[in-house]
C-alpha cells in the first residue's frame, strides 16, 4: 500500500471513529431523564438567563434552548413534522396564531398550571393548551432628535401622517407585525389605514429590531415596533421615547405551550409553572418585560397590563385567514 492511500484510509478511519463517538453521545443525551428542549424566539440572553434561574431552582430539570426568529422556528417545526414529529418539548414564541394552528392539528398537550389562576382569561387558552408567558407590545417608538415628542403621533390613526419619516416591520416576516395588521383590519373593517400609509410613503423594513435600529440611527422619526426593544435602546442612551397609542397598543402575548409528543411531560410542566409563577414573572420584569400576572409590578416607568389600553386581537380570524391577509398586505403595501 502506498503512502497516499495509507493516509486516505487513516482519514476515513478517523471520520468513522468520530461518527461512532457522536452517535454514542447522542444516545447518552437521549437517555438523560431530566432534559427538556425549548424552542423559542425570546431574545437569546433573556431566554438563557431565565432558564438558568429556573435550573437553579429545579436542578433536576435541564433546559436546553434552541433560539431563532419566528420564521426559522416555524420552518424547523414544519420540517420536523414531516419526519416523525416536532422534537421540542416546549414552545415559547411571539407568534400567537401559530398556537391556534398547532392546537387545531392536535400537537399541543393540555395543561392547566396551578399558577395560571393569576393570569387574566384573555391571556390563556381555556383548555390549557397554552398561556401567555410574557407580553410584548407593539407601540410607537419616537426618535426625539428627529421628531420632537410634542409632534409625535399620539395614536395609530396619526401614525401614517408622518409619511416618509415613519417605518414599520413586514408582517410577511414577523409574527407580531402580522397580528398587528390583523388587529387593524378587523378594527377598521377595511384596509384604509394601510392605503393611507402607502400613499404617504411609510417605509417597510424586515422586522421590529430593524425598525428600532433604523429609528435609533435617525433614518426615521417614528416607528411601529416592540416596547422592549425600544426600552433596551433607551437604557443604552439612545434618544428614543415610547408612545402608548391612545387607540390601543397591540399586546402580543408570547404563549408557552407543551408539545404533545414530549418525552418529559413532568419536567415540561415544572418549566411552564415557573414561567407563569410570581417568581418567574418578577425575573422577567427585571429584564424590562411586561408581566402577565396582575400581582407582579411592571418595570419602572412602564405601565402595567391593566393601565395600558389594548386593541383587541382577532386571533382565530387571523389564523384562519392568514394567506388572504398576507396577500392583501402585499398588494396594498409592497407592490
Amino acid at each position: 500500500m502506498n503512502k497516499f492511500s495509507h493516509k486516505l484510509s487513516l482519514t476515513l478511519l478517523a471520520v468513522c471513529g468520530m461518527l461512532a463517538l457522536t452517535c454514542a453521545v447522542v444516545l447518552a443525551q437521549a437517555k438523560s431523564p431530566g432534559r427538556v428542549l425549548l424552542y423559542t424566539s425570546v431574545p437569546q440572553q433573556l431566554a438563557t438567563q431565565f432558564a438558568d434561574a429556573f435550573m437553579k431552582k429545579r436542578p433536576d430539570v435541564k433546559v436546553e434552548i434552541y433560539r431563532a426568529g419566528s420564521t426559522e422556528v416555524g420552518a424547523k417545526i414544519a420540517a420536523e413534522r414531516e419526519v416523525g414529529g416536532i422534537r421540542a418539548d416546549l414552545l415559547w414564541l411571539a407568534d400567537a396564531p401559530v398556537y391556534y394552528d398547532l392546537r387545531k392539528r392536535g400537537e399541543l398537550l393540555a395543561y392547566i398550571s396551578p399558577e395560571s389562576k393569576a393570569i387574566p382569561a384573555d391571556l390563556k387558552d381555556p383548555k390549557g393548551y397554552f398561556a401567555a408567558g410574557r407580553l410584548i407590545n407593539m407601540i410607537i417608538g419616537v426618535n426625539t432628535e428627529v421628531v420632537p415628542l410634542k409632534d409625535a403621533p399620539k395614536s395609530w390613526k396619526e401614525f401614517p401622517e408622518h409619511g416618509k419619516k415613519a417605518v414599520m416591520g413586514n408582517p410577511l416576516y414577523s409574527g407580531s407585525n402580522f397580528v398587528t395588521v390583523a388587529a387593524f383590519v378587523k378594527k377598521d373593517g377595511d384596509w384604509s389605514w394601510f392605503e393611507r400609509a402607502r400613499a404617504k410613503g411609510v417605509a417597510i423594513v424586515r422586522g421590529n429590531s430593524e425598525a428600532a435600529t433604523a429609528l435609533a440611527g435617525k433614518e426615521f422619526g417614528v416607528a411601529m415596533t416592540l416596547d422592549y426593544i425600544v426600552a433596551g435602546l433607551i437604557k443604552k442612551g439612545a434618544p428614543l421615547a415610547t408612545v402608548w397609542p391612545s387607540d390601543g397598543a397591540i399586546s402580543v402575548p408570547s404563549p408557552i405551550a407543551i408539545i404533545k409528543g414530549t418525552k418529559n411531560p413532568t419536567g415540561s410542566k415544572t418549566f411552564v409553572d415557573y414561567v407563569l409563577s410570581k417568581e418567574g414573572q418578577e425575573f422577567l420584569v427585571k429584564q424590562e418585560v411586561i408581566p402577565v400576572r396582575d400581582d407582579v409590578k411592571p418595570p419602572a416607568g412602564q405601565p402595567s397590563a391593566k393601565q395600558i389600553k389594548f386593541m383587541p386581537i382577532p386571533y382565530e380570524w387571523a389564523a384562519d385567514n392568514a394567506p388572504a391577509i398576507r396577500e392583501k398586505f402585499e398588494k396594498t403595501m409592497l407592490q
Partner: protein, 553 residues
Amino acid sequence: MTATHFDRRYLLMAAVGVFVSLIVIYPLWQVLFRSFLDAGVLSLKSYQKVFSYPSYYRALLNSVWVSCATGTLCMVMGTLLAFLVIRTDLPFKKTLRTLLVLPYALPSFFAAIAWIQLLGPQGYLARLVLQVFGFATVPWSIYGAGGIVFVLTVHYFILVFITVAGALERMDASLEEAARASGAGTSQIMRQITLPLVLPAIMAGGLLAFIGALANFGIPALLGMRARFFVLTTSIYYALAIPDFGLATALSSMLVLVALLTMALQFGIQRGESRFTVISGKAVHPSELKLRSLRYPLFLLISAVVVFISILPILSMVLTALMRYWGAPLSAANLTLQNFIYVLGFETAQRAIMNSLFLAGVAATAAMFVGTVISYLHVKARLKGSRALDFFATIPYAVPHTVIAIAMILAWAKPPVSLYGTLWIILVAYLAVYLPFAVRTTNATLQQVHDSLEEAAKASGAKLFPRLRDIILPLARPGMIAGWILVFMPALRELTVSILLYAYHTETIGVVVYNMQDAGYREIAAALASIVMGLLILGNTILRKLTGGVAGF
C-alpha cells in the same frame, strides 16, 4: 496484479458518487418531490402559483437581471484588479491582495449594514458629501436595485479575483514571451494571449459570482424592501414564513433552473477546452509588466478602491462594535469596549467560535478533497458519467441555504441515521453548500493542466494514486488553496444553514451573530464579527509566515 485490467478511476468515481448522492442528491430530492405535492397528492399547484402571481414572476425577473449585472461587474472588476495585483510591478502588491479579499469574511447582511452606515441616508460618507457639496439629499440611494447590485458586486467580485489571480500566477510565461519576441505590443499580447488564457478562470469566477448573487438573501432583504424591490430569495423566505413548503421549493426550483441554464451557457462558450491548457509542468513565472509612469497613479487609484471597498466597510463594522448603541453620535462619550468584553466573556460565543473553526476547517478540507477528485474525473479523466457528477455537485450553490437546511432535516433527522441535533448535520450541510466552490475552482485550475503530463506518468507505469499524488495534486495546489480559502471564509461565518440546524451546544458564530442582531443588539453582533475578522487576519499572517507566503490570501 489484476488491477491493471480494471480502471481504478471507476472505483474512485463510485466512491465520490456515493458521497454526492448522500450529501446532495438524496437531501435535495426530499425537498423537490414535496414541491409536486399538495396535501399528500401529486399536483402542480405550487408551480401554478409561481406563474399566476405577478409578484413571484416579477421576483424571478428581478433576480435574473440583478445577478446578470452583478456577474458582469464582478468579472470586469475582479479581472482588472487581479491583473494589476498579480502581473504588474505595483508597490505593496501582497498587502493590496490581502486587503481586497478580506471583506469576504463579512457576513453578507453585515456587508449590507456596513454600506447602509456609509452610504445610507444618514451614513458617514453621505453626511460628508452633503456637508462638502451642500446638497439637500445625497444623489444616490443605497435602498433599491442599484444599491443591491453595488453591494453584491463588492461582496462577490472576490470570487473572480481569487480564481483569476490563481490562473495568472500559474500561467506559462513562454507564450507571452514568444509573442513579444515576434514583435507583438503589450496590448496585443494582453488581448490575444493573456486574456484568452485566463478566460476559463474569468468565466468560472463570473459564474460563481452570478449564482452567488442569485442565491443571496441577506443583501436584498436589507436593501430591497424599502424600495419595494423583491427577488426570488426574499419571496422564498415569505413562502417559508407562511409556511408553504410546496411554494418555497417551487420557487427554489426556478432559482436552480436559472443557475443551470447559465452553467449550460458557460459550458457552450467553453467548448474546445484544450485551447486553454497551458501548464506543462515548468516553473516559469510570468514576467511582471512594468507600469513605468503609470505605476504611482495606478497605485493611488487601487489604494483608493481598497480603502473604499475593504477598509471602510470593515472600519464601519468595528466602529459599530465600539458604540454604546447603533446610531449613537460619534463622540468619545459614546465609545466603549463593553461589547467586546461582553462577547469575550459570553460562554455561548466562545463555544460558537470553536464550533465554527472546526466546521469551517473540516468542511473546507473535505470539500476541496472531494471537489478535486470530481474535477479530475470530469476535466482530466473524462469518464462516462463524470459530467453528471460535476453537475450534481454544483447544484447546491444555487439552492438558498434555508432550503438546504430543510433538505438536511428531511433527509438526516429520522432513524436509522439521525444526525439531527449534532454538529455532523451542520457539517453535512456545509459540505453540500460549499462543494460547488471546490468543484468550480479546481475545474478552472485543472483545465489549464495539459493531459500530456498525466499520460507520460501513466505510460511510465504510475498507478492512479501516485499519479494523483505526484502530478495532479501539486499542479492543482494553488487553485486548491484558493478554493480552500473561498470555502473556509464563508463557512466560518455561515448563518442561514446553521440557524435551522444548530442545537444546544452546537451553536456557530453565525447563529450567535444572528440572535444578537435579532434582539436589537447590533453592536454586540458587530463585536463578535470583528473578533472573527481579527482571527482571520491573525491566522492568515501566521500561515503566510510559516509557509513563506505560499499559503494564505
